[in-house]
Homo-oligomer: 186 residues x 2
DNA sequence: GTCTATAAGCAGATAGAC
DNA sequence: GTCTATCTGCTTATAGAC
């Protein structure tokens, strides 16, 4: 493999798959190298500070993706229910129906926690805010909207954990399907 | 430290703390040795297959603890609400109000996943069954009871993830506090 | 049951050729 | 932009003294 010129986005996608499967500590340079088809030194060329830089790039790309697939749909045009349903499809796509684990989870353990806590907190905060704003617009009192927004984030994260630990692929889609009614119910 | 004769249960508690903080891959023998005050070789004396054996002992001890603190309380004497409230106190104690992460989460990633998936699945299944049985006894139709039992497990796991990622200590206790009403409501 | 010493291998990381 | 070769330190694991 001489000059494959794999585009950066594709490289980051493959790195993301490894971090999701193995966790931060488990994602060794050997695995990351194998997944991308790049030698270690090539990885260091693209990510000078090594694994740290790769993890950061993965986190930023995930944030952008969840912003496009979920957050922007929540605050886009259309009725609150339609927007919520669009966001639900976005979550399903982002987590591939629960088969993929969440980086939030994996990057909040051990060494990775200290480095990425700010990013994690920011991501969760924005997501909660976008859901709450939609629910207020749908007519819920602000306090109730905040509470349900947190419930939604908790249900999604918990759904991913339980789905993975149970090996049951139906759990996550079923949680997502119930989300609109559960949130919008008066 | 010559012959401290630390009881096995205490050793396992200290190992548990490391696995919870660092994850399976992040829990190195150096950290495990430091936490227990035992040299590497002493650890191998107690756990001949090394880290694998330690992790297994930690998982089995956690299963026993959650059985005593939660599952047995759910199926114990008293009204369903009282039993549920007792179980909620058990969860709070087991997770120290959400400050501790769940082994379910940490052991369902990478290498650890293959080795411990059976244990994880068994634990979640028993917990779901115990909650569902209590809800049926409280008058809910079986299907609804099953669904709410899953919701409860999801809320707890998700609450731990979100609490840790947010660094907000109030989230987990607040989820626990709402659980009885949320589950028993007709 | 604990310790010291050590082995063998893999981790992350770097230098320099092409 | 990729490669090969190499380095240092840490990883798991074992042998054997006390």
């Amino acid at each position: 493999m001489a000059h494959p010129q794999l585009p950066r986005d594709e490289v980051i996608d493959r790195l993301t798959a490894v971090f999701r499967r193995e966790g931060y500590e488990g994602a060794s340079l050997a695995l990351l190298s194998e997944a991308t088809g790049l030698g270690r030194s090539s990885l260091y060329h693209h990510f000078p500070r090594g694994k740290d830089d790769m993890a950061e790039a993965v986190m930023l790309a995930a944030r952008d993706k969840i912003t496009a697939l979920v957050v922007e749909r929540l605050s886009g045009p259309g009725s609150p229910r339609k927007r919520l349903e669009a966001a639900v499809r976005g979550w399903d796509e982002f987590y591939q129906s629960g088969q993929l684990s969440c980086l939030t989870e994996l990057f909040s353990v051990g060494n990775a926690k200290q480095r990425f806590q700010d990013l994690l907190l920011g991501g969760i905060t924005k997501l909660r805010a976008a859901i709450a704003a939609l629910l207020v617009e749908a007519g819920l009192p602000p306090e109730k909207a905040e509470k349900r927004a947190l419930d939604a984030v908790v249900a999604i994260q918990g759904g991913l954990v339980v789905a993975r630990a149970s090996g049951d692929r139906s759990i996550f889609p079923s949680i997502l399907a119930e989300l609109p009614d559960r949130l919008l119910n008066p």
